[in-house]
């Protein structure tokens, strides 16, 4: 008896089953509508819903090359200590999220020192080529690696025109809680996303200000009244490799 397959109630035609389902579903929907603010599935979060990243914002950085001093690497050391980056004395393969580059115009002799980091492109080549979807652009414009699904293939490193990404070759210990990093994974500047989520500015920006240079301006490119958008409106700014039409979030001025 108990082994018999469950039988449909043959006295009720199939159409009626379907009708009952739709009626009940409609009742459910109207119930949800009747109680605004009451969600059937609560989102698991400690922060309020308002703090979720959205495309109303686009975080960016403006580098004033006139203020960036040659020989100063406060931003680089701040980044290293914030994220616990330490090298093995092998610059070719050591992790590097931001670096200082000195440029010289051979025609005029004009010299320039600028920081190069992930440019947080609107159309990031690293995201295009990633076979697993680990490279992604957060809603607020920050380009990140989901290290849980990165397989370390390094396509993104080849695709990035700015050589902004690093691959971790060795086992690591002593990582920071806010910056998990490990062997076999590609990583790059996160624009200090853990600080941004807590309404703080990136470590490099803070360090540059504390060093008295104030060459880095961080802010929301969508916020017309904000420091970054208003400064970018007043001054001529440019992106690196504009020919690639990546619309970078990091821009440079005074050169």
């Amino acid at each position: 008896m108990s082994c018999k397959p469950m039988k449909k109630d043959e006295s009720v035609p199939l159409a009626q089953h379907r009708r009952t389902f739709f009626t009940q579903a409609a009742a459910g929907v109207s119930l949800m509508a009747l109680a605004p603010g009451v969600r059937l599935v609560e989102l698991a979060m400690a922060n309020s819903e308002d703090s979720l990243p959205s495309n109303d914002k686009r975080w960016g950085l403006l580098v004033d090359t006139a203020k960036c001093e040659s020989g100063c690497d406060e931003c680089v050391s701040a980044c290293n200590s914030e994220h616990g980056l330490s090298g093995h004395g092998r610059p070719e393969t050591d992790a590097q999220w931001i670096r200082k580059v000195d440029l010289k115009d051979e025609q005029t002799g004009h010299e320039l020192s600028i920081p190069i980091l992930c440019q947080h492109c609107e159309d990031p080549p690293c995201v295009d080529v990633c076979p697993t979807g680990a490279s992604f652009r957060r809603a607020d414009g920050i380009v990140l690696v989901d290290k849980h699904i990165c397989i370390g293939c390094r396509y993104c490193m080849m695709a990035c025109p700015f050589q902004a990404r690093s691959f971790i070759h060795e086992d690591l210990t002593g990582q920071k809680t806010h910056s998990p990093r490990g062997k076999g994974i590609v990583e790059s500047c996160t624009l200090c996303v853990h600080r941004i989520d807590e309404d703080q500015e990136p470590a490099c920006v803070e360090a540059c200000r504390e060093a008295g240079h104030d060459a880095l301006v961080f802010g929301d490119l969508e916020d017309a009244a904000g420091p970054l958008a208003s400064l970018s409106r007043k001054t001529a700014t440019r992106e690196l490799r504009p020919d690639l039409k990546l619309n970078t979030g990091v821009r440079y001025t005074s050169f």
Binding site: A44, M45, A46, N47, P53, R138, L172, T177, V193
Partner: protein
């Protein structure tokens, strides 16, 4: 001759039954005496979920939370891995935190017992900040 043989058979059957019973009982005793790992308990009176649920589903919780954090920037909520470590990391003799994945520590003890490799700590910090 014949009755003797029958007696022997009877004896051996009775012996077999006795042996089976003994085995059965001793197996029952072994189940009651199963060795469970001694896990160092965390700080605070209560975990974020009842212990039985945590034992079974903790990975589901942190796996869900990791996506919330990576994609939506939701940090420090109740199922965060950092939260686990904050409560469950023990201190050594000199007051320093011991890595949670070290032998005999909270995560490792159970995982050794269950023969499950933890992959979290190739990247994640093993001690509170």
């Amino acid at each position: 001759m014949r009755p003797k043989v029958i007696n022997l058979e009877r004896n051996s059957i009775a012996g077999l039954i006795a042996l089976c019973l003994t085995l059965l009982l001793s197996t029952g005793d072994a189940v009651a005496d199963v060795v469970t790992p001694e896990v160092p308990m965390g700080r605070g009176a209560q975990c974020v979920e009842p212990i039985e649920i945590m034992r079974r589903d903790h990975f589901e919780f942190i796996k869900h939370q990791r996506d919330q954090t990576v994609y939506h920037g939701i940090r420090g909520s109740k199922h965060s891995l950092a939260g686990c470590i904050d409560c469950h990391a023990s201190k050594g003799t000199e007051g320093e935190f011991l890595p949670i994945n070290a032998e005999g520590q909270f995560c490792q003890t159970c995982h050794t017992y269950a023969a499950v490799k933890i992959d979290c700590f190739t990247c994640h910090a093993t001690v509170p900040d």
